[in-house]
């Protein structure tokens, strides 16, 4: 079984107003305890995954690079020891431009973190300020240069579009700067307002306008155009890659391969069962330190849940869903209106179709 492994690091220098991830500022004093707990949890969980081959590891957060290189290296060594890794396993670490320098990047690469995913978000200082990001565009360029200097050959840049005040011209500049830096992979996300975040509350109170969906659609189309022209393949709703650089780990989620999550709030999935660790880092620590798996909840997918997931996840990627899964009269209007392609036995969303994927999923599974 080809399995993904996700490791969550819940520490951040500051919290960004739009982010609803399980991440905390000011908990740095827990960092070394947390790393120990991760090592311990890896050991506790390993017997359940002994027949799996680990195809990918993804260190996400939070900001994993708030941890010391030595800690990160030790973690990966331990994981390789406790689990069976595929020879070509993809190992990704997320980083903020401000938390890395040449030395650290060299250390990470040498430690086996061969893929770097950097939160650039935007090259427009006003947009970065609107997102409450600390770094400036120059530090993204610097970090990118240093990554190359350190020897990184597989780098992703994360971008966010549609923040309050961002105009299409600004987004175009961000895309062009991104193309100029030539990362192997680009993730471009439409800003989503999560109700539980400070930004969500501002939108609710009318202090900040919600993103304009038509402008975000224009921005999406511009991304498709500019990234496509620059040789990136649009392989998932929000992801583009140079040939051969699609993210193995994330593809696993959309292809519904099993995954193991380690760390506070991390989710795991296999055989139509999904479960997740407790979210607060302190709770996570005390459970693991007491020698128990820190599971906070689980769900078992009914066949109808599994079907819905299968459709909405697979439609996100170029693979699409087998044409035979969907009643022909349900798919036909969308094929006709150019939202879906019926190609080689699969229904695949076009770029226009990707933009209204929820509607497609609901109509196809109705």
């Amino acid at each position: 079984m080809s399995t993904g492994m996700y490791v969550h690091v819940p520490f951040c220098l500051t919290r960004c107003g739009y982010c609803d991830f399980n991440a905390y500022a000011g908990l740095d004093h827990l960092a070394s305890r947390y790393v120990s707990a991760l090592l311990r949890e890896a050991g506790l969980a390993a017997p359940g995954w002994s027949s799996d081959q680990i195809a990918s590891v993804f260190l996400g957060g939070g900001t994993p690079t708030t941890l010391e290189v030595a800690e990160l290296k030790a973690l990966l060594v331990r994981l390789r020891h406790d689990y069976a890794f595929a020879p070509d396993a993809e190992v990704t670490i997320e980083a903020n431009p401000d938390t890395v320098d040449l030395l650290k990047l060299e250390g990470l690469l040498e430690g086996g973190f061969a893929r770097l995913s950097m939160g650039a978000q935007s090259f427009d200082p006003l947009v970065l300020a609107s997102l409450e990001r600390l770094h400036d565009p120059a530090s993204v360029r610097r970090a990118m240069r240093e990554a190359r200097a350190a020897g990184y050959a597989n780098v992703n840049l994360d971008l966010i579009y549609g923040a309050d005040g961002e105009r299409i011209e600004s987004w175009e500049r961000t895309l062009r700067e991104t193309v100029d830096l030539a990362p192997e992979h680009v993730s471009a996300y439409a800003l989503t307002i999560e109700p539980s975040t400070p930004l969500g509350r501002k939108v609710q109170h009318g202090a900040v306008p919600p993103p304009d969906p038509d402008l975000q659609a224009d921005m999406f189309e511009l991304a498709c155009e500019l990234l496509g022209d620059a040789g990136y393949q649009h392989y998932e709703v929000s992801n583009w890659a140079k040939p051969g650089f699609a993210c193995v780990h994330n593809l696993g989620y959309w292809e519904r391969r099993p995954y193991l999550g380690l760390g506070a709030g991390a989710h795991s999935y296999r055989d139509d069962r999904r479960w997740w660790n407790v979210r607060p880092p302190e709770d996570y620590l005390s459970l693991v330190e007491a020698g128990t798996l820190p599971v906070g909840g689980e769900e078992r997918l009914e066949p109808s849940d599994a079907y819905l997931e299968e459709v909405f996840l697979r439609l996100r990627i170029l693979e699409g869903v087998p044409t035979s899964w969907v009643e022909p009269e349900k798919a036909a209007p969308f094929v006709e209106s150019g939202l879906l392609l019926d190609h080689d036995g699969s229904l695949i969303p076009t770029e226009r179709g990707m933009l209204v994927l929820n509607e497609l999923v609901l109509a196809l599974t109705a």
Partner: protein
């Protein structure tokens, strides 16, 4: 049995909030009709709904025992509805009385409905006892209101009584004056029985109860009776009086007021205004004058918000009808809203009450189409009666249309006269006359199309006069009108529920506003949705709901999948609750909001 000379039958004419129910409470207390420990506020208004709205829907008759100057008297207080929707019911209640207390809030002055009912009472030959209420209020202007009331009632200011129903001040004097001024009933007890039904209700255990005033003859407790207009005979089970709870008596005699357990099960057989007599040879030949079939003035389609609740709605309407003889309905099928009923009401208040009772007592969620009047479409010698705008024939297929008109009475502070006249003119009104009740208050009569006042006229009147103006109206027949049907089309499909019949000059504007409103209410779909208003085949307004371009979850990784699947399931549920019009999904809320009377009113400004 009480001597006729010791009986007084009277009612109280008052505007909403002028203190009728409070005065009734004091009368019950001061005459010891209700024991102190049983007393509660608004005693006579039994239904919850009435208590909350502070108005009385069902007329009631209560017997008060009162000793005046050493002689026992029987005072029958007949409670009347105060709203314009129920003018006919009021007239029947008045016909059961010899006198009326004209009750006016000393801080507010007389209101149009009070004035209209006063005219009804005077025309019916009742003796009027004018009374100022709420004299305990600091803002009461006793002298000025007394002068105004005296002028209206045509009496001397000294003849106007002053009370506080709240504190009880002056109420005993009021009772004495009722005894002194209101004449005892006339009525030959030897003549064949003729009793006037002024109200009825349905009791689940005892069937239909008639409230009646015996005009002539005797009504024994158990007797074979005939309902003359309905032409139905029945074995009456019990006669009685309300004191204030139902108390059986051996018989009711000419001059008396009470109830009759009719032995019938269908409230529609016991009609307000009908005459009860005995069957066979003992019976009267001629009914009492003044009977009229109840006639709905306002129509609206009622549809269950959830399609499956149709049979529940039918059951609920059937049950309501048991107690509401004025409610009529027939099945209606709307392409947009599915199966429902086209219902006829006495007026807007009646409509609101029925709708609220359906929702509250039967737990139904309803979509009501905008209310409309009954139109008469004239084609040669033929008159087509139209209760539903979507059934209005297309222009060119008939000669002309007639609509109901009313004579409206408006009383307003003189300073707001300008805006009031403007409002009436804007509603196609025709000024009949204008006079001053006092230098500060004017009384205006207008001829107005009923259709123009059933939406928001009263609200507009109130807002233009800071709440001081009052309104009453009576139907005066049908008149020729230049009306056209405006249809609303979604993506080319007419939506019958949105069709409306409006005056030609206002039709385009109405269409534009409806279309603009719907543009706000209809969610974006995967294609451009055209919203059009048309008169016949002519499009008079058009808006487009642009196709939805973005509806996708930006991020979906391992930790998101469960949550995002649930979001999708929610979105799916929302979609399932929508109504499909052609290819367009329309949420329930859009129908409700677009058809809401006040929103519609918004569109008419």
């Amino acid at each position: 049995m009480t001597e006729l000379t010791h009986i007084r039958n009277f009612c109280i004419i008052a505007h909403i909030d002028h203190g009728k129910s409070t005065l009734a409470d004091r009368l019950l207390e001061l005459t010891h009709t209700v024991a102190d420990r049983d007393m509660r506020e608004q005693y006579l208004d039994k239904m919850d709904l009435e208590r909350e709205r502070g108005i009385t829907i069902k007329a009631q008759a209560v017997r008060l025992a009162y000793r005046s100057q050493g002689v026992d008297h029987e005072l029958n207080l007949i409670d009347t509805p105060g709203h314009v929707d129920f003018t006919y019911e009021v007239s029947r209640s008045l016909a059961a009385c010899e006198g009326a207390v004209l009750l006016v809030d000393a801080a507010q002055g007389i209101e149009a409905q009070t004035l209209a009912n006063f005219h009804l009472a005077r025309d019916a030959g009742l003796v009027i006892v004018p009374v100022l209420n709420k004299i305990d209020l600091p803002q009461a202007d006793v002298d000025e209101t007394r002068r105004e009331l005296a002028e209206v009632a045509g009496c001397r200011p000294e003849d106007v009584l002053a009370v506080s129903a709240k504190t009880g001040e002056g109420v005993t004097e009021l009772i004495e004056e009722v005894v002194r001024r209101v004449p005892p009933p006339a009525g030959e007890r030897e003549l064949p029985l003729r009793a006037l039904i002024f109200d009825s209700s349905f009791d689940p255990y005892r069937g239909v109860i008639a409230y009646l005033r015996v005009k002539e003859g005797l009504l024994p407790s158990r007797s074979k009776v005939r309902f003359m207009a309905s032409a139905i005979d029945s074995e009456a089970e019990e006669a009685g009086v309300f004191a204030p709870e139902a108390t059986p008596v051996p018989r009711l005699e000419a001059g008396e007021v009470g109830y009759l357990v009719t032995g019938l099960k269908d409230v529609h057989q016991v009609k307000v205004g009908d005459t009860v007599t005995l069957t066979g040879k003992q019976g009267a030949h001629e009914p009492l004058p003044g009977y009229r079939e109840p006639r709905p003035m306002v129509w609206s389609g009622l549809f269950p918000a959830e399609g499956g609740d149709y049979s529940e709605l039918r059951e609920a309407l059937d049950r309501l009808k048991l107690n509401d003889a004025a409610l009529v309905y027939e099945p209606e099928t709307s392409r947009a809203l599915g199966f429902g009923f086209r219902c006829g009401f006495l007026g807007l208040l009646h409509m609101d009450i029925v709708k609220e009772r359906l929702e509250r007592e039967f737990g139904l969620e309803l979509i009501a189409t905008a209310p409309n009047v009954e139109f008469h479409v004239i084609r040669g010698a033929e008159t087509i009666v139209v209760h539903n705008p979507s059934e209005m024939p297309q222009p060119g297929t008939y000669d002309h249309v007639e609509e109901p008109v009313v004579r409206a009475t408006i009383i307003t502070p003189a300073e707001y006269l300008g805006p009031v006249l403007e409002l009436c003119q804007a509603r196609r009104g025709e000024l009949l006359d204008l006079q001053y009740l006092s230098p500060e208050r004017a009384e205006v009569h207008y001829k107005l199309p009923l259709a123009e006042i059933i939406f928001d006229f009263f609200d507009q009147l109130k807002s233009k006069t800071r709440g001081y103006a009052s309104l009453d109206y009576e139907p005066t027949g049908y008149e020729h009108a230049d009306l056209v049907r405006v249809d609303v089309l979604l993506h080319g499909e007419p939506v019958d529920a949105f069709s409306s019949v409006v005056h030609r000059e206002k039709a385009a504007q109405y269409g534009r506003q409806m279309v603009e409103r719907l543009r706000e209410l209809i969610p974006r779909q995967l294609f451009d949705v055209a919203i059009q208003a048309s008169i016949g085949s002519r499009i008079v307004a058009r808006e487009t709901v642009k196709a939805k371009r973005k509806d996708v979850l930006a991020k979906c990784y391992g930790g998101d999948i469960t949550r995002k699947r649930k979001l999708l399931e929610q979105q799916k549920k929302g979609k399932d609750r929508m109504r499909r019009v052609g290819r367009v999904d329309v949420p329930q809320e859009a129908f409700i909001a677009a058809l809401r009377v006040d929103q519609k009113a918004e569109a008419r400004k």
